[in-house]
């Protein structure tokens, strides 16, 4: 029979230390030599995790069914062109972005980024000719925007990976990404001579910039943070 000198509680004969404060039992080897049974088992049972891969497979099969039906129907009703390609491409994009991550145990974020970018590029590549748009439009409009969004996402992954970031810096990063995308869209509008588009994107980009500057200033200045807390308390 042993007692913890710190807590004053009686300890189990098999205890090597106090379960409450960790104080070791005096000469625990002697106690252990009596082969006292531990009060609880020391073997954990790790329950099987949800079979994500299996669930993803089922969803994939369900997603494939409308594609097959549309493909067959399109063979007989083709007055409006090959519209089933739309369904197929949309489902394929959805599959790559939403379901594919569940098919593997732990997907590397860069690999996921690569797949998603390639899927969006391919989707738009199919989408543009279907809309009777020429390939030049694809190269001058879709490619720069997708490339910009993808590049922003890549920078964000590199920046956020492995470190816990404060929500305010995450917000600033997202705002900066939005501004970059706005600048690219504005440049495209400018090249194509779309004045309203240029003005709209310019307003959004400038608003973003103002918010970013204000956010950085707030992050650095204690005085401003205190003033904000005073002003917007609930």
């Amino acid at each position: 029979m042993s007692y913890c000198v710190k807590c004053g509680v009686e300890l189990d004969d098999s205890a090597a230390c106090c379960a409450l404060c960790g104080t070791p039992v005096y000469m625990p080897d002697d106690v252990r030599s009596e082969k006292q049974q531990m009060p609880f088992s020391s073997v954990p049972a790790i329950p099987a995790e949800t079979r994500r891969k299996f669930a993803a497979m089922i969803v994939s099969v369900i997603l494939a069914i409308p594609n097959i039906i549309c493909g067959i129907v399109n063979l007989f009703i083709h007055d409006a062109g090959y519209w089933s390609v739309y369904v197929l491409c949309s489902c394929a994009l959805l599959w790559v972005i939403v379901i594919f991550p569940f098919m593997t145990k732990k997907t590397h974020p860069f690999l996921l980024w690569g797949f998603d970018t390639a899927a969006v590029f391919l989707y738009t590549y199919v989408f543009f000719p279907m809309q009777k748009e020429n390939i030049r439009n694809y190269l001058t409009v879709a490619v720069p925007i997708i490339a910009c969004v993808s590049l922003c996402a890549l920078i964000f992954i590199i920046w956020a990976r492995g470190k816990s970031r404060h929500w305010s810096s995450v917000m600033l990063h997202i705002l900066a990404d939005c501004m970059a995308v706005c600048v690219v869209i504005g440049a495209i509008c400018f090249v194509r001579g779309l004045e309203p588009g240029v003005i709209t994107t310019l307003i959004i980009a400038l608003s973003d910039l103002a918010l970013i500057v204000f956010g950085i200033y707030c992050n650095k200045s204690k005085r401003i943070r205190a003033w904000l807390k005073r002003r917007v308390f609930m």
Binding site: G8, D12, A19, L20, S41, P44, A45, P47
Partner: protein, 420 residues
């Protein structure tokens, strides 16, 4: 025994909250003085199962509700104990039974999913199983107390939904509350939990509480409240309310003998912003709040409000997946967010006098919460009151404060844990 029956009102919400990470499971143990023979225990379990039709079930999904159906298997397997009891339940595992039976040395443990029964039902089942085990080992044990007579057939009252039968109040008292304080710490790995059991001298504890005019439950709840209030103050943060949830057995108040769920959770709330409370003031608060709420008419109004989900025609018509999403979201907002911790006291368990020489002690443990730190289960057998904490966190400061408080007041405490 019907081929199928619907879940009771309290059980309705549990399958909806059942996730890969968390289920509402609790444990009741009977510790015998001799080591358990698993083969004999398995035979005893098979003998006991027909007497408990509420346990002999599997859960099934209907279009609008979950329901129980008789399990075609005889009994679940009896397994050696594990260090992380109360881990999540999956409906298609364990031969589709919703309880698990373990043995370790002389300890017989039953982990029960809350959808099939509450603490009282699980205690009756485990004690009856232990009695049958002892009978097979040669002891002559009659029925009585928490041990049911196996020669009797299960009565209709034992599997009735007492909520449905008794919820008939004109008024409705809705449960609610603000977001409250939660003790934080270093989380243990997924599916792991820390168990700290304190075997307390009941007579000494009772002699402490009697002059104060409070019950043991009120006294223990006041200690827990005090610990959380002081812990929050030491953290020097915005002071939130501290709330201890205390389930109340409704069987006595409504004269029910059901073996299914029939409890309601009362809340004891203290706001530290109102000033510093001494322990005596906290004791007063707990006693007043509990006694005020523990009134059959108010309990009936609470039950009636809870039955609203099942009686509302709009909610009734919603498909089960939609209901599950709703229940999940509602639990995230109103579940553990509004309670700091849980203290559940099963009370004094009585066994037939012939069984007493074989039984060392009993233990009752709630499953770990998702946000609640140390959740506490209490049961008393003879002169041994066993307080068991199930904790998600590595730190044991709440448990230490709790037991050292009792030691400082002259109560003998013996500690057992799965961390040694």
């Amino acid at each position: 025994m019907p081929e199928w029956f619907r879940l009771d009102n309290a059980a309705t919400i549990f399958p909806g909250q059942n996730t890969g990470a968390w289920s509402n499971i609790f444990r009741f143990c009977v510790e015998l003085k001799e080591n358990i023979d698993p083969a004999v225990l398995e035979t005893a379990l098979k003998t006991v199962m027909p007497r408990f039709p509420g346990f002999d079930v599997m859960i099934k999904r209907g279009l609008f509700w979950y329901y129980f159906e008789k399990n075609p298997n005889t009994a679940p397997d009896v397994c050696p104990d594990i260090s992380n009891p109360c881990h999540r339940v999956k409906f298609n595992e364990n031969k589709r039974f919703l309880f698990r039976v373990y043995y370790h040395g002389g300890r017989l443990s039953v982990d029960t999913y809350h959808a099939i029964t509450d603490g009282h039902g699980a205690a009756v089942f485990t004690c009856t199983l232990a009695a049958e085990y002892l009978r097979l080992r040669g002891a002559d044990i009659p029925a009585g107390g928490f041990v049911l007579d196996l020669s009797e057939k299960p009565s209709a009252e034992e599997i009735e939904d007492s909520f449905r039968k008794n919820a008939n109040s004109r008024g409705k008292l809705k449960r609610g509350g603000r977001f409250v304080y939660h003790a934080k710490g270093t989380k243990l790995p997924r599916h792991m939990l820390s168990i700290t059991s304190g075997i307390v001298d009941f007579d000494k504890l009772h002699s402490l509480t009697k002059p104060l005019g409070v019950t043991v439950t009120e006294y223990l709840a006041a200690i827990l409240l005090d610990i959380h209030i002081r812990k929050q103050r030491a953290e020097k943060r915005k002071q939130k309310e501290v709330c201890i949830q205390i389930p109340v057995d409704l069987r006595r108040a409504f004269n029910s003998s059901t073996m299914r769920n029939f409890t309601l959770c009362l809340r004891v709330v203290v706001d530290p912003n109102l000033g510093e409370y001494t322990f005596e003031e906290l004791l007063n608060q707990v006693a007043l709040q509990l006694r005020l709420a523990n009134d059959p008419k108010k309990l009936n109004a609470m039950m009636t409000a809870n039955m609203g989900i099942e009686r509302n025609p709009f909610l009734k018509a919603m498909p089960l997946p939609v209901k599950n999403i709703g229940i999940g979201i509602s639990f995230l907002i109103t579940g553990e967010q509004t309670t700091t911790s849980l203290l559940t006291n099963l009370g004094k368990v009585t066994l037939p006098a012939e069984m007493e020489p074989y039984v060392e002690k009993l233990m009752f443990m709630p499953g770990p919460g998702m946000r609640n730190g140390a959740r506490c289960g209490v049961t008393t057998y003879g002169n041994k009151l066993v307080v068991t904490f199930a904790d998600l966190y590595e730190e044991t400061d709440i448990e230490r404060e709790f037991f050292t408080f009792l030691v400082r007041n002259g109560v003998h405490v013996k500690i057992e844990s799965n961390r040694n």
